[in-house]
Amino acid sequence: MTSATATDRPAADPAGSIPCRIGARSVTKRFGTLTANSDIDLDVLPGSVHAVIGENGAGKTTLMRILYGLERPDEGDVLVDGRPVRLRGPRDAIARGIGLVQQELSVVPELTLLENLVLGAEPTFAGRIQWSTAREQGERLARDAGLSIDWDTGAMHTSVAVQQQVEILRLLYRGADVLILDEPTAVLAPAQVTELLAMLRQLRNAGRTIVFISHKLAEVVSVADRVTVLRAGRAVAHLEHDEIDADRLAAQIIGDNEQPVASEAGGQPGEVVLAVENLTVRDDRGLVRVDGVGFDIRAGEVVGFAAVAGNGQDELAEALAGIRRCRSGAIRLGGADMAGDDVRARRKAGLRYVSPDRKREGLALQLSLRDNAIATPDLSTISRWGLLSAKRARSRTSEILRSADVRFGTIADPASSLSGGNQQRVVIGRETNGSARVLVASQPTRGVDVRGVAYISELIRRARRDGTGVVLFSEELDELRDLCDRILVLHGGRLVGELPRGATRAEIGRLMLGGQAATDEARTA
């Protein structure tokens, strides 16, 4: 059956009798020094729903892109109908009946749903598009999938759920019978998720093959016939229908090597420096990404947010910083509600922000280190009557670079001349310079070398000792466990749980994946 240990590779298809409709055999893919997929087997039976799950960075999207021909494997083969093939690109995949729906939908908002359906494969006669034929085919496909679509509405006037449905129908229209869906429920509201899962079941019953990526255990349990679990680029488990349950999946995803927590009993946290009430944030498309979130941060404590990518943590961090406007709710910084204020006002009130996008937001790569160090509303403290004091700018810069132990040439060098780890040190050094009331750090050690990670962690601990309230967003569970006094978990834009220092990876992971907290389970038992 299946093996739960990561050491021996689990058998993909024990019976081996039915050729897979689509699959992989020993697929390996590297990007530079990063190995995204390592020796992966995958066996998707025709007429089934096969889920591929794993946490951030497990290699799921890369594998899907390989199956669709967008990437070529460095080793191993893609299997179609049980035989190895060389996919030359998406056109080739479509010709073999394989279609991919990516997270970024390729529905054109300015066109109608019907126009989107046939775009690029229009039914024509004498150069003229046969709209009646298109409509007929569209209605038939929709009916087979259990959907009802108003084909004449403009795509921009429909919900993302409907756009996604049309994108799926478009693939079916082009003859795809294998549908690969990358995190399809990431953009859907709960009711729409149910609708989508029903559609997938219907398509499966009609003989189509579905492969979908998800990290939401409830969905996977509800609809998948088979599950493949990826962890750190490897396939660590293949589960059959009757073996699929939330706990087992969570355990496979998180793994069971517990790192010991570096226990630093900090001092008692002080008064509340940041109070968030009922915060709701939408993204640029109007989708709700943060849904009624509320929490307090006290001086001298580090509070972590754990979430799988795409569950609202980026939007929450941006909303706290002031980069993203919030629809409703309050953000109280030292008592005053700053939810309507811009970044400048919040920074002046003592908030600092480390952006997850170092190259575009954390730094101005083309400008000098000095320019990067002084670019804050605090410019007034190193200038007089609007004139920059070169001397004070220099000393502020040296102070920042020294405190973060940055390796650099001169302060006039462009920030792009530094290594990634050093660049991030400049960012953290700048944001922890002087005493801040609140530090919002989003993925502060992303792309940083080991030594840099240790140093940045130390800078965060230092901020905590200085009485700053630190809000830490990180995809590295061990980093959260190491640095945080408590961990809040986001799932689907909502706070689903709070865990104290010492929580295990399994406990955090379960909440992140949409499972119930252990205490809740015990309560209901």
């Binding site: 799921k60 990516q102 980069i323 920074r347 952006s355 937001e361 730094l363 804050t376």
Partner: protein, 358 residues
């Protein structure tokens, strides 16, 4: 549909290495000019030699070149100032015309004033009027994110239409040819630096403006913020810099400098406002700003280059059969290729949407 133009708005200047990217458009322009010239049976080499001689061969020639470069120094500076902030205005032409008209209209009534005071007052007015032309595009851009390229382009036409109308309605000098104001009073004419050459005090004002620009961007907090907004806009927002103020200052500043340019042109060279007041100085300024890449020395050099082309082209007509339109060809080509990237288009298949690898 505004989203299409917005995504183009980031003016990506090619990074060939500074000397290369300055020379390349000029070289291409010279080649294109040579082709046009050759097609009509003239010899490009001798034509270019004549132009060079007419531009720089002798003190009086240099004088003419510098006089022609003066308005371009201003308009190039105005454009560079805004582009440095990532604000892509093409409206300097409109500010130039408005400033020039205001100066002429008022200056013709200023007989007997103290020269220094009169000139100063007129230039202040010109600067202000130039700024006013940019107000609506500036506000629209800063507060409603309306694309400044199209609004400033439209305001060029609006400003020149209003200017022509007001000349005919209010300021027309009787007895003159159509559309001309009276000459400005002698008292407020800008003194010439080396008579009988036309180069005047305005050149010094222009050079001073460039110097002030250089100093301002390096030494003031707002100047620093302006450069940062242009170089890394998302960084500027995330760091809480005064982005809205920068946008306003960029557009209004470019308008102000353009207006000043028009005032100087009236008081220094033409001494009145007529139809055809501006020979596309605003647009040439764009080419200068693009070539010079915000660099003050580059602005001066490029302005002199284009000034040389203008003045040489005018006088060369006396000796050789060279229509001045060739100058437009050269300038336009420089403008086009100053923004083009010279990497040969590689014929690789276009990739599909790149996705973050996980």
């Amino acid at each position: 549909m505004t989203t299409i133009v917005e995504s183009r708005r980031r003016l990506r200047l090619p990074s060939l290495g500074s000397a290369g990217s300055v020379l390349a458009p000029v070289v291409v322009a010279l080649l294109v000019g040579a082709v046009v010239v050759a097609v009509t049976g003239n010899d490009p080499v001798s034509i270019y030699r004549t132009l060079a001689r007419e531009a720089f061969g002798g003190a009086d020639r240099v004088n003419a070149t510098l006089a022609a470069a003066t308005p371009l120094l201003f308009t190039g500076l105005a454009a560079a100032f805004a582009y440095r902030a990532g604000i892509f205005t093409v409206g300097v032409e409109g500010s130039f015309v408005a400033g020039g008209l205001a100066t002429a209209a008022i200056g013709s009534h200023m007989d007997g004033v103290v020269p220094a005071l009169g000139i100063a007052a007129l230039l202040v007015v010109a600067t202000f009027v130039g700024l006013v032309v940019a107000v609506l595009p500036a506000v629209l851009r800063a507060y409603a994110r309306v694309d400044e390229v199209v609004t400033t382009l439209m305001f060029n036409f609006i400003a020149s239409g209003l200017a022509s109308w007001s000349v005919q309605a209010f300021f027309q000098e009787r007895g003159q040819a159509n559309s001309a104001t009276a000459m400005v009073a002698d008292a407020v004419r800008l003194p010439e630096l080396a008579p009988p050459g036309q180069t005047n005090v305005g050149l010094l004002v222009a050079l001073a403006a460039v110097a002030v620009y250089w100093w301002w961007t390096r030494s003031t907090t707002l100047g620093f913020e302006l450069t940062t907004v242009g170089s890394a806009p998302r960084f500027a927002v995330a760091q809480g810099l005064r982005t809205r103020l920068v946008v306003l200052v960029a557009l209004l500043g470019a308008g102000a400098i353009g207006g000043l340019a028009g005032g100087v042109h009236t008081l220094g060279i033409v001494h009145r406002f007529t139809a055809g007041f501006s020979a596309g100085f605003g647009f040439t300024g764009i080419a200068i700003a693009l070539l010079a890449r915000f660099n003050p020395v580059g602005i001066v050099a490029a302005a002199i280059l284009f000034g040389a082309l203008n003045s040489a082209g005018t006088t060369a007509q006396l000796f050789i059969d060279l229509p001045i339109q060739i100058i437009d060809v050269l300038q336009g080509t420089v403008m086009v290729f100053a923004v083009a990237q010279f990497a040969l288009p590689r014929l690789r298949k276009r990739q599909a949407v790149p996705v973050a690898t996980t």
